[in-house]
């Protein structure tokens, strides 16, 4: 006999899936930001060898499908390194790398959007390259980059749904499970879709707030 009705337990399952998706998204965003920004700093310093290497890696990562990268990491990496990788680990590695590549691209163009004359001014006043990055470039680049970053993060949230393919029980996987049991695809996928939608809106809102704060200096407050 099988349960075709929704039970209170399903809600728990849904929350669990949501938790996995959110945790994975948050973790890969943090790791991706750290790596992507570090790469952008390498480029800012025009580090020989490393800067071109990073650019090449980022090109590879952003120009191939995430699903293929996921398969490569989940199935390929264990063979190459002769280790075992859980689906969660594979998902974490793949999405972090993918996010890092796109954040690198956003950070590079945001840094380049800071006026050349500002860098020259900082130089004339004797600021080191690091001081210039920290006090002049980073605050302005952050404001420039937040718009594109919002778009990226909303997209990366949706991309996390791919990891259900390798068996991570995320929100999408929970949807698949509930759908198979209840055979009510319209209700199940509507709820799942709505949850992603709400998360995406939340991300956009948080980013918009941060952007408004970073751009406070260019807002008219009256003379």
């Amino acid at each position: 006999m099988r349960y075709a009705d929704f039970t209170p337990h399903d809600l728990l399952l849904l929350l669990q899936g949501l938790g996995v998706s959110v945790a994975l998204f948050a973790a890969t965003t943090v790791i991706g930001l750290a790596i992507g920004l570090a790469w952008a700093v390498l480029r800012y310093y025009r580090t020989p060898l490393l800067a071109p290497l990073v650019a090449a890696v980022a090109e590879l990562l952003k120009n191939s499908p995430v699903l293929v990268q996921l398969f490569l990491v989940f199935f390929g990496l264990p063979v190459l390194l002769e280790t075992d990788l859980t689906p969660e680990q594979a998902a974490l590695i793949t999405l972090s790398g993918n996010t890092a590549a796109f954040i690198y691209v956003i950070a590079v163009s945001a840094i380049e959007a800071v006026g050349r004359e500002q860098l020259e001014t900082a130089r004339v006043f004797g600021l080191s390259r690091w001081q210039t990055l920290r006090r002049i470039v980073a605050p302005q680049a952050a404001a420039f980059g937040l718009g594109p970053l919002t778009g990226l993060l909303v997209n990366q949230l949706q991309v996390t749904s791919l990891i259900s393919v390798i068996g991570v029980v995320d929100l999408t996987k929970v949807g698949a499970i509930l759908n198979l049991r209840t055979l009510k695809p319209f209700i199940v996928w509507t709820v799942i879709g709505l949850l992603y939608y709400l998360m995406a809106r939340l991300i956009a809102r948080v980013c918009a707030r941060a952007e408004a704060r970073l751009r406070a200096h260019s807002q008219w407050k009256g003379l």
């Binding site: 004359e117 001014t121 004797g126």
Partner: protein, 244 residues
């Protein structure tokens, strides 16, 4: 002493500065006149090390600008005010002024802010310390730019067409400050199109034409009929400028 000797600068095949010799001694006010594209701004950019020289040497108080090891020391001696202000847009007027003293000279915050407030007060901007550049008028921005340069206590002030982006009223308010600085004995090298002002405050006038120094004369002599004006090009330039 700012010491410029045989300085040549090329952009591609175009020679912007062609063997320029110039000395500015402490206490002097030297203005650089010349048509647009004559190399005036490039000369300023060479003195503060923003352009690499293709020939010649520049030293500021004995520190060679063309030697990367001495460049930092040379830059400490001079302060630059820019044509388009170049204020940091994400920082308040006060932060714009205190940044370099705090980061480069390691002045404690309280002291840096006190000095910045005193500077702002001296240019009539006591109440605008917390304003961002976007909330200031052009003249106010340039006054902040002057304060920012002065906050580093430079021995030489380099001014690159500091009023050319301002309307006549704002120009007057900035020039009044420069006149006061000159009267206080600040050493200045300034590129300008304000002929009357140059005549008024400078000890010496230098005329650049296509990267060459056409004249380097005491002010009175530069504007005298048997001095600078004896050169047809300078007479022509001055007559055009005074007509406009």
């Amino acid at each position: 002493m700012i010491h410029i000797e045989g300085v040549t600068k090329r952009f591609g095949s175009h020679t912007v500065l062609d063997g320029v010799d110039l000395r500015v001694a402490p206490g002097e006010v030297v203005s650089i006149l010349g048509a647009s594209g004559s190399g005036k701004s490039t000369l300023i950019r060479c003195i503060n090390g923003l352009e690499k020289l293709d020939g010649g040497i520049i030293s500021v108080d004995g520190h060679r600008v063309d030697d990367p090891k001495q460049l930092q020391l040379a830059r400490r001696c001079s302060g630059t005010v820019f044509q388009l202000f170049n204020l940091y847009p994400h920082m308040t007027a006060l932060q714009n002024i205190t940044l370099a003293p705090m980061e480069v000279l390691k002045v404690p915050r309280q002291q840096a802010e006190d000095e910045a407030r005193a500077l702002l007060a001296s240019v009539g901007l006591a109440g605008r310390a917390a304003a961002y550049p976007a909330q200031l008028s052009g003249g106010q921005r340039q006054r902040v730019g002057i304060c920012r340069a002065l906050a580093m206590k430079p021995r030489y002030l380099l001014l690159d067409e500091v009023t050319s982006a301002l309307d006549p009223e704002m120009t007057a308010e900035v020039l009044a400050i420069l006149a006061r600085l000159a009267a206080d004995g600040t050493t200045m090298l300034f590129v300008t199109h304000e002929i009357e002002f140059a005549r008024h405050i400078s000890n010496r006038v230098v005329f650049l034409e296509q990267g060459r120094l056409l004249a380097d004369l005491p002010t009175a002599q530069f504007f005298a009929a048997d001095g600078g004006l004896a050169q047809p090009r300078i007479a022509q330039f001055l007559s055009k400028m005074s007509k406009s």
